[in-house]
């Protein structure tokens, strides 16, 4: 080939992609990732950061893994590129892909293409790698969902993995069934927020505040747009019909586009809409915005200080909410305690760091608006969009794309109102994909906290009183702040039986991005405080730390801090009993190790948690439908969004057994607000418990209708053969041809429907009541090694015992625990978001595959009678006990009690030095 290599401007690049010769003409510096996705339509390759930090874009060039976001397409000239789409030869999954499916190695699936490609590189060189070699090969790909363990297991099993046969009818619940929607995540076919954007769409770019706090004036927007070819329109606050949104019906305090004042760095000011080339060419320095910076209120202390400037003019004292739980008389009870401990704990902002940035597109169809978006909550999105747009709910259709991770961060609106307003005004589809820095600057975070806690017990070790004030930094707008400030006091005394509790939760406004929902809604921060108390009280009495917790653990029949008597399913004692042998072993191992070790010390710690499933003392319903068409197609109309945690599979398992047909018969429609019923949001660990119950009821309803039609007995065995539905009972076989029936709803001739709203009662002024219908419980053990000279901590082992009521799908339960645990490890050891300083995934660190400990899960099934087959939730609980267990282990290893997370090496080293000098 003798193509000139030194010419200017557009050039033609020829390369082989997945075995096919392809060409690209254009800017040779264009990122290969963009060429693959935009020019060749291979959207299986994902973009999570465009900076080499996440590895989602990993492809092979001549058999070696590289980040396609860092590769000029010119450098692929004449070479062979393999993407995820090229892994399944002839449409048949490779052994590696089968192993991923078998082991549940893909949750949301957004990292999966990168993981698979990196692993394919390794396996091509080394068919039987060791776990350490797998880690080295996959170290450049981040996964925020799985905790990596199942990914490693899958790669190790790639040479031999075979998929298990699907569970038989009636045997779905409890089966380690592979994900019903798993294959698309392994082949690159799955469509996320950025993957299905129509070719003719306009693009939207947001101009954001570079200041924490500033007033601003806008210049001539029309002139700005007119001077730039391809720029169609610049939208400002004035263009938004009702410029306020927010989670709570009575708090719509966050503007879609700021109006004269910005309250956090990263707040949206203008939306620039035009061709993709036009918005990509925007020079931020030329934007028609003149800011006047104002002094910001940063941090809880500044916000709560008397006379502090107000972040929102009508919120006195910068206070969003002051929530209380009072039971007994804690203050008086301390006088009678044999041991009392007291301390203050601090946590910072934590970023969700889902690997998929916010993305979607909207389109106006007549007098309706369709929004395709990555979201955890289509129905709340629909209602919020109707408010913002001043349209009727029925005029809005939300079609959730696959969601590449949420963890609470995709419960708030992001691109939706921007693309919605633009598409409505311009009459053309409008798309928007956040850049990673933009996602990090503008999205919600875990609430920073400052928690003062005092606790006391009697001489036998029984807890007597706990008093705590938890203050939270809720950022500039309310978001989920009220949820945190009410949920935390309820959980603040931990999963223990405590007669006297005073717990207060306050949320303060500051000039930071809103703090929102993040796996655990403040409970993980609270657990750090109450678990440190348990360690300290046990130590004061000379009791074993596990035995102390076991003595005080809530069990069925006990009353919680809100006076709720737990009737069933309070499995913390069983969790602790299951940990006991591991605990004893770990303690002995630490003692032996520390005897001979010079500067490294090992320690073991324990963390317990409880977590109320679903909304706090609020109605929290879900409705599910199952339809059967005249052709015998069975459809689950599932309004619950699967964000990777696996609800599509769980719902199918529950539906299959309740109906009596195999899982394979079901097709799923997920989350589309035109086609499903409102199942509520995917948060608060509620979908298995609440929507799972609704699906069980829906399936039973359909079964009842079918049995009636077939005149079969209640215990009849059903089967579907084309349009024939058959039942076999003691009388023999009955059958009915569904083709005889006229469609009633859509194509369906029959439908079952089920709704469930978990029973709760409102809390009184002292917070007393039944805020949740059921609680999850867990205890985790952490074994750590501290390098005392460097202050570094390596977590060697986690044993996690979780009471899940019933594990509908043990693989997925383990996956949730692994993933949650690794987020807890991140919270404990490395994650700290500093506005303006850590807006990327190399300054903001999340755990990599090299940071994972050995993780062992122990599933306790203390059935919850209200839940489907006894199940409750597990989405958040995996994270909550981890940081407390690690902090306890550090204390056990070294004697220092870290009261601020993350325990960065320099912080631990400083604390160790301080202790040495004392």
């Amino acid at each position: 080939m003798n193509r000139p290599r030194t010419q200017s401007g557009a050039q033609t690049i020829c390369f082989v992609v997945n075995g096919q010769a392809r060409e690209f003409s254009g800017n040779p510096a264009k990122r290969l990732a963009d060429v693959l996705r935009d020019d060749l339509g291979l959207t299986g390759t994902k973009i999570g950061c465009n900076a080499g930090d996440c590895g989602a874009c990993t492809v092979l060039i001549d058999g070696r893994q590289v980040c396609s976001c860092l590769t000029a397409v010119a450098q692929a000239d004449g070479r062979e590129v393999t993407t995820v789409e090229g892994l399944a030869a002839g449409g048949r999954l490779s052994g590696l892909q089968r192993a991923f499916q078998k082991h549940g190695a893909a949750q949301c699936g957004i990292c999966t293409p990168g993981m698979l490609v990196a692993a394919a590189d390794l396996l091509a060189r080394n068919r039987r790698p060791s776990a350490a070699e797998v880690k080295d090969a996959l170290g450049g790909v981040l996964c925020r969902c799985t905790g990596y363990q199942k990914i490693i297991e899958a790669v190790l099993d790639a040479a031999t993995a075979q998929l298990p046969p699907p569970p038989a009818a009636g045997a779905a619940i409890g089966a380690r069934a592979p994900k019903v929607d798993g294959v698309a995540k392994l082949t690159g076919e799955e469509r996320y927020g950025a993957d299905g954007i129509p070719a003719g769409a306009l693009w939207l770019r947001v101009a954001r505040s570079p200041y924490h706090h500033a007033s601003f004036e806008l210049g001539d927007l029309a002139a700005y747009a007119a001077a730039r070819p391809g720029m169609e329109r610049v939208l400002s606050a004035r263009d938004v019909p009702s410029n306020g949104f927010g989670i709570y019906p009575h708090i719509k305090d966050q503007p879609v586009l700021a109006d004269g004042v910005v309250r956090f760095r990263g707040e949206a000011v203008l939306a620039l809409v035009g061709t993709r080339a036009a918005i990509e060419a925007v020079d931020e320095a030329e934007l028609p915005i003149r800011y006047t910076p104002l002094p910001p209120v940063m941090g809880i202390a500044a916000a709560a200080a008397p006379g502090a400037p107000l972040v929102q003019a009508d919120k006195a004292g910068n206070l969003l909410l002051d929530g209380w739980v009072r039971k007994g008389d804690a203050a008086a009870a301390f006088a009678h305690c044999a041991a009392v401990a007291e301390a203050t704990f601090e946590t910072g902002f934590v970023e969700h760091a889902y690997i998929e940035p916010e993305a979607g597109w909207a389109e106006r169809l007549g007098d309706r608006l369709e929004v395709h978006v990555t979201t955890q909550t289509p129905y709340m999105d629909r209602d919020e969009m109707a408010l913002v747009m001043k349209l009727a709910r029925e005029q809005i259709r939300i079609v959730p794309t696959a969601c590449g991770g949420g963890f609470g961060g995709k419960l708030d609106l992001s691109v939706q109102p921007l693309i919605g307003v633009a598409a409505w005004l311009l009459g053309k589809p409008v798309a928007c994909i956040y850049t990673r820095p933009e996602s990090m600057a503008s999205s919600t975070k875990r609430h920073p906290s400052q928690i003062r806690i005092k606790s006391g017990c009697d001489a036998s070790g029984r807890l007597v009183a706990i008093e705590t004030v938890a203050d939270f930094d809720t950022g500039a707008y309310a978001s989920w702040g009220p949820t945190v400030a009410t949920r935390v006091p309820i959980h603040a005394s931990g999963p223990y039986c405590v007669p006297h509790v005073t717990a207060r939760g306050r949320a303060f406004f500051t000039h930071c991005h809103p703090s929102g929902a993040f796996r655990g809604f403040g409970v993980p921060q609270g657990a750090i405080a109450h678990e440190a108390m348990m360690d300290e009280l046990a130590d004061k009495l000379g009791m074993d730390r596990l035995a102390f917790r076991r003595l005080n653990a809530l069990k069925a029949g006990d009353a919680t801090a809100t006076g709720q008597v737990l009737a069933h399913s309070a499995g913390l004692p069983q969790c602790l009993d299951a940990l006991k042998p591991h605990w004893d072993k770990a303690l002995a191992a630490c003692t032996a190790y520390n005897k001979t070790s010079a500067y490294k010390r090992r320690g073991a710690g324990i963390g317990c948690m409880w977590y109320g499933i679903g909304n706090t003392a609020l109605s929290n319903p879900s409705t599910m439908r199952i339809g059967l068409s005249a052709k015998g197609e069975l459809t689950l109309y599932n309004g619950a969004v699967d964000i990777g945690q696996g609800s599509n599979t769980i719902m199918t398992q529950i539906a299959a057994d309740a109906l009596g047909l195999p899982m394979g018969e079901f097709r799923i429609v997920m989350g589309d607000t035109d086609l499903t019923a409102d199942a509520g949001k995917t948060s608060a660990s509620r979908q298995t418990f609440v929507s799972g119950k609704a699906v069980e009821l829906a399936a039973r309803d359909l079964r009842r209708k079918l049995l009636q039609l077939l005149e079969a007995a209640p215990d009849a065995l059903l089967s579907l053969e084309g349009s024939l539905i058959k039942a076999t009972d003691a009388q023999g076989e009955h059958q009915y041809d569904l083709a005889w029936l006229a469609p009633r709803q859509g194509v369906d001739v029959l439908r079952g429907e089920g709704s469930f709203d978990p029973p709760t009662s409102p809390q009184d002024a002292d917070g007393q009541g039944v805020p949740y219908a059921t609680y999850a419980f867990a205890a985790q053990l952490a074994l750590v090694e501290v390098d005392c000279e460097l202050g570094t901590v390596k977590v060697l082992e986690i044993v996690a015992a979780h009471d899940v009521g019933k594990a509908i799908n043990p693989i997925q339960v383990e996956g949730q625990i692994h993933g949650g645990t690794m987020q807890g490890l991140g919270l404990a050891l490395m994650e700290e978001y500093l506005p303006g300083r850590t807006e990327n995934l190399h300054d903001y660190l999340i755990p990599t595959i090299g940071d994972i400990p050995e993780m062992k899960c122990i599933l306790i099934e203390d059935a919850e009678p209200l839940g489907p087959s006894g199940a409750k939730g597990v989405g958040e609980p995996g994270l909550i006990p981890t940081a407390p267990a690690i902090l306890g282990a550090i204390n056990h290893a070294t004697g220092v009690r870290m009261r601020q997370v993350p325990v960065l090496p320099h912080r631990l080293r400083a604390a160790l030095k301080l202790m040495e000098t004392r």
């Binding site: 290599r5 030194t6 010419q7 200017s8 401007g9 050039q11 254009g26 800017n27 040779p28 510096a29 264009k30 990122r31 950061c49 465009n50 900076a51 080499g52 930090d53 590895g55 990993t58 070696r64 893994q65 590289v66 980040c67 976001c69 860092l70 590769t71 000029a72 010119a74 450098q75 990196a118 880690k135 996959l138 170290g139 450049g140 790909v141 981040l142 990509e280 850049t435 990673r436 820095p437 933009e438 460097l790 202050g791 570094t792 490395m830 700290e832 500093l834 300083r837 190399h842 300054d843 660190l845 990599t848 595959i849 090299g850 940071d851 960065l904 090496p905 320099h906 080293r909 400083a910």
Partner: protein, 279 residues
């Protein structure tokens, strides 16, 4: 559309540089991350197709590492124990994707205070070869890097190779990096050392510490203190806090100034202990 040149020879490349302002692109692993969300408007000189700039060879008096040699190529190369430290540094760069694409010269030209290649190469007494239309010349690495993201390189120049002099005595090197996680992590601090030995004693020592100043620094006082010492697993005990006195670390999101000095000393001691134990 900006221009994009991808020459296949060094003379073509330096001729192009002499003609106008071009941005040099090698592996792109520093270039693209600095342009997230920004248009790609630079006129580019892509040096990745110049075969002569790639690979490692023995040039008699020194080893010659071509500018565009990737970290992975370095790891895979068969090299004497002198290079153990540099190879360890290479394994600690990003993840495998970054090692496959990123080049050694790119790491030096980017001149980040946290560049892992710099202390490892300082400990090898590396020189860099600079090419322009007039020819080429070499200078010491610590003269090449001026500070945080600053080098002596002029816009019409390329870094064409890294030269590692062959030590007079049997030598080995070691490297250690401290980060807040495993893989893909910017160093909090990192240390590298090369020892030349004669009958069990140190006859030459080169020790460097990175991320503890605007650029990685050699520790001449420590190097002097090591001369004549017997090689043993406690060699590191000769390293003292005062040997780091000339360093000027910063406070940032990763660590405090004080910690960098503290941990730097620990790493230096461990690197020396390891070399001492192996000798």
């Amino acid at each position: 559309m900006p221009s994009y040149l991808r020459p296949t020879s060094l003379p073509e490349a330096v001729a192009a540089l002499a003609q106008g302002s071009l941005t040099v692109l090698a592996g792109g692993t520093d270039y693209y991350p600095s342009r997230v969300g920004k248009p790609l408007t630079d006129d580019i000189l892509d040096i990745s197709a110049i075969a002569g700039l790639r690979g490692i060879r023995d040039d008699g008096a020194h080893w010659r590492i071509g500018a565009t040699t990737s970290w992975s190529e370095l790891i895979a190369a068969e090299l004497p124990p002198l290079f153990d430290g540099l190879k360890l540094a290479a394994r600690e760069i990003g993840g495998v994707q970054i090692q496959n694409a990123g080049t050694i010269a790119g790491n030096l030209c980017n001149a980040s205070p946290a560049a892992d290649g710099v202390p490892a190469l300082l400990a090898l007494d590396a020189r860099v070869e600079i090419a322009d239309i007039a020819g080429s010349a070499s200078l010491a690495l610590d003269e090449f890097i001026l500070g945080n993201r600053r080098t002596v390189l002029r816009p019409d120049q390329l870094l064409s190779a890294i030269l590692i002099p062959k030590p007079a005595h049997p030598a080995r090197s070691h490297f250690a990096k401290l980060g807040a996680r495993k893989y893909l992590v910017v160093s909090i601090v990192m240390a590298a050392a090369t020892l030349e030995l004669e009958s069990g004693r140190v006859c030459a020592a080169r020790v460097a510490l990175g991320a503890a100043s605007e650029m990685a620094q050699r520790l001449p006082l420590l190097e002097a203190a090591l001369i004549g010492r017997r090689c043993a697993a406690q060699l590191g005990e000769h390293a003292k806090a005062e040997h780091l006195a000339a360093l000027t670390p910063i406070d940032d999101v990763r660590a405090s100034r004080e910690y960098r000095l503290d941990a730097g000393l620990v790493l230096v001691r461990r690197v020396l202990n390891e070399l001492g134990a192996r000798a």
